[in-house]
């Protein structure tokens, strides 16, 4: 009996720091933000207690609505491109690379170890008016004179895909490797061509990985703020920029809090969708 009590006490002590950390610095702050998103604001930017839906109402108006659409479009394009590029890469590493596979995986991991800003600044140089890409295009005769690529949506997209591609490749790779090759051979034996085998055997089996990849890319790409500023010239503001501006520059905390809650809801929806789709895929098997 005494031993049991002591063990309980010990367990309690072991849990205290993590529970305190989560409660005090995640749960409680999120509650404060939630409360602030309904708060009033005096003309000088101070938060006044009260309850209003105005902050959310402001979000569905002109400027903010465009920001929402921008973020959504950018995140959707980033996710689509990452999956389109990431799937063949993962497929190649899983089935065709053979002994080179570990080296290729390591090569994909290295950029993770290099500061994100340094990676993005490398693209600022490459895409610049006098940068290598422009020079190559002029030399090869595709274009007559350098074109301005920086400051366009395309440049932002390049940076986003470059930053998030590894996050798409790894889950797909992890879903592809355990697939029993005999299943693919069976498909071929039953008279299916390579395309049909892929569409009816390999792709369905790897869907959980594809879904995870989509989640891993979509959620963080909604909250990015540095890439659109550095590569897109800060013209197309997305949710991440909006939060930074509202909190640190305009000091409009109630509306900022509403944006943060909205982003949180979006991410939650993304996770829910992912789990539902995953269950459906599992049920299909």
């Amino acid at each position: 009996m005494r031993r049991e009590r002591r063990e309980q006490l010990q367990t309690g002590l072991m849990l205290t720091p993590s529970v305190l950390l989560l409660g005090l610095f995640i749960l409680l702050p999120l509650c404060v933000v939630f409360a602030y998103s309904f708060a009033l604001r005096d003309p000088y930017g101070a938060v006044l207690p009260g309850f209003t839906l105005d902050n959310y109402r402001e979000l569905v108006q002109g400027v903010y609505l465009r920001v929402l659409m921008n973020s959504f479009t950018l995140a959707a394009w980033t996710t689509a491109l990452c999956l389109l590029i990431g799937y063949p890469v993962a497929y190649f590493i899983a089935f065709k690379a053979g002994r080179a596979a570990p080296a290729l995986l390591l090569l994909l991991l290295i950029p993770f170890w290099i500061n994100f800003l340094i990676r993005i600044s490398a693209w600022v140089v490459l895409l610049g008016r006098g940068g290598l890409i422009n020079k190559a295009l002029v030399l090869s005769g595709v274009i007559d004179e350098p074109i301005g690529m920086l400051g366009t949506v395309g440049a932002t997209l390049v940076g986003m895909v470059y930053a998030f591609l590894p996050l798409a490749v790894f889950p797909i790779y992890a879903a592809l490797t355990p697939i029993d090759r005999r299943l693919m051979e069976a498909g071929a034996d039953l008279g299916a061509g390579p395309a049909e085998t892929f569409a009816r055997v390999t792709l369905p089996l790897s869907l959980p990985g594809v879904l995870a990849a989509a989640l891993f890319v979509f959620v963080p790409s909604m909250g990015v703020f540095a890439i659109p500023v550095l590569l897109g010239g800060g013209k197309d503001i997305i949710l991440g920029n909006l939060i930074v501006q509202l909190f640190l520059e305009f000091r409009n905390i109630p509306v900022g809090a509403a944006v943060a809650i909205l982003l949180l809801v979006f991410s939650g929806l993304g996770i829910l969708l992912y789990m539902r789709a995953l269950r459906r895929v599992e049920a299909m098997k």
Partner: protein, 245 residues
């Protein structure tokens, strides 16, 4: 994936002021970086925050991981999921939440807030790494130690802990790296005089790119590769040792 990095490093050695036109080989931009007061100050802040937050994160994460895998208590699955939650919550939301909460609680932004923020970012990784290792431990080893007369604390210190050491070390290094590279959380939790290196680079980049940034980038790549090799060098023998049991 690597071409942009290689080009960046190459132009760090450019003699001219341009990051696109090659005018000759020189180390002048490296000299400029190591004599830039702002960069050195930011480096110092980043190192302090990285080491402190990694230590806190690894300590809290390891204790929680051992408790979750070894003890049964109500809400065990919930705690496990909650500790992994920052992985799927947008970091920017955690950042503003912390900022709002700190100003609500009257705390001044500085080292403490930075370290707390970075701990939130790295704790899911630290916990998951140590949890994976703790759940694959062989309980018979601990039973054997108890049979041989070791008390609970001796068993933990001499049998359990040494087996967990490689993963705790990995968790520490990964946490420190995540902290050192962090921009989003730092944007909201750093105060006057505690500008971290990524924040400094970001504000330099907004003004336009110079070979100085290339040189700084090249130095950071070098540092990262060195750490990676050191970790590999230390981690691999440890891994082999634990696998041989």
């Amino acid at each position: 994936m690597l071409v942009p990095i290689v080009v960046l490093i190459a132009f760090a050695f450019n003699a001219g002021k341009s990051t696109v036109v090659w005018t000759g080989f020189s180390f002048r931009w490296f000299e400029k970086v190591v004599s830039n007061r702002n960069i050195l100050d930011a480096l110092q802040v980043s190192l302090i925050v990285a080491l402190a937050s990694a230590a806190v994160s690894t300590a809290i994460g390891s204790v929680a991981a051992v408790a979750i895998t070894r003890r049964s208590f109500p809400g065990r699955d919930l705690l496990g999921a909650a500790l992994a939650a920052p992985l799927v919550l947008p970091e920017i939301v955690l950042g503003v939440a912390l900022l709002v909460f700190m100003s609500f609680a009257g705390m001044i932004l500085g080292y403490t807030t930075l370290i707390i923020g970075h701990v939130l970012v790295s704790i899911p990784f630290a916990t998951l790494i140590v949890r994976a290792a703790a759940s694959s431990l062989d309980p018979r080893l601990e039973n054997a130690a108890a049979d041989l007369g070791a008390n609970e604390w001796q068993t933990f210190r001499m049998v359990t802990l040494p087996q967990l050491m490689p993963s705790i070390f990995t968790a520490f290094i990964l946490s420190a790296t995540l902290s050192f590279d962090n921009l989003v959380m730092s944007t909201f939790t750093s105060g006057v005089g505690t500008t971290t290196l990524p924040l400094r680079i970001y504000s330099m980049l907004k003004l336009g790119i110079t070979p100085e940034i290339n040189a700084l980038g090249a130095l950071m790549v070098l540092a990262n590769v060195t750490i990676l090799l050191l970790v590999m060098g230390r981690y691999l023998p440890l891994m082999l040792k634990t696998n041989r049991r």
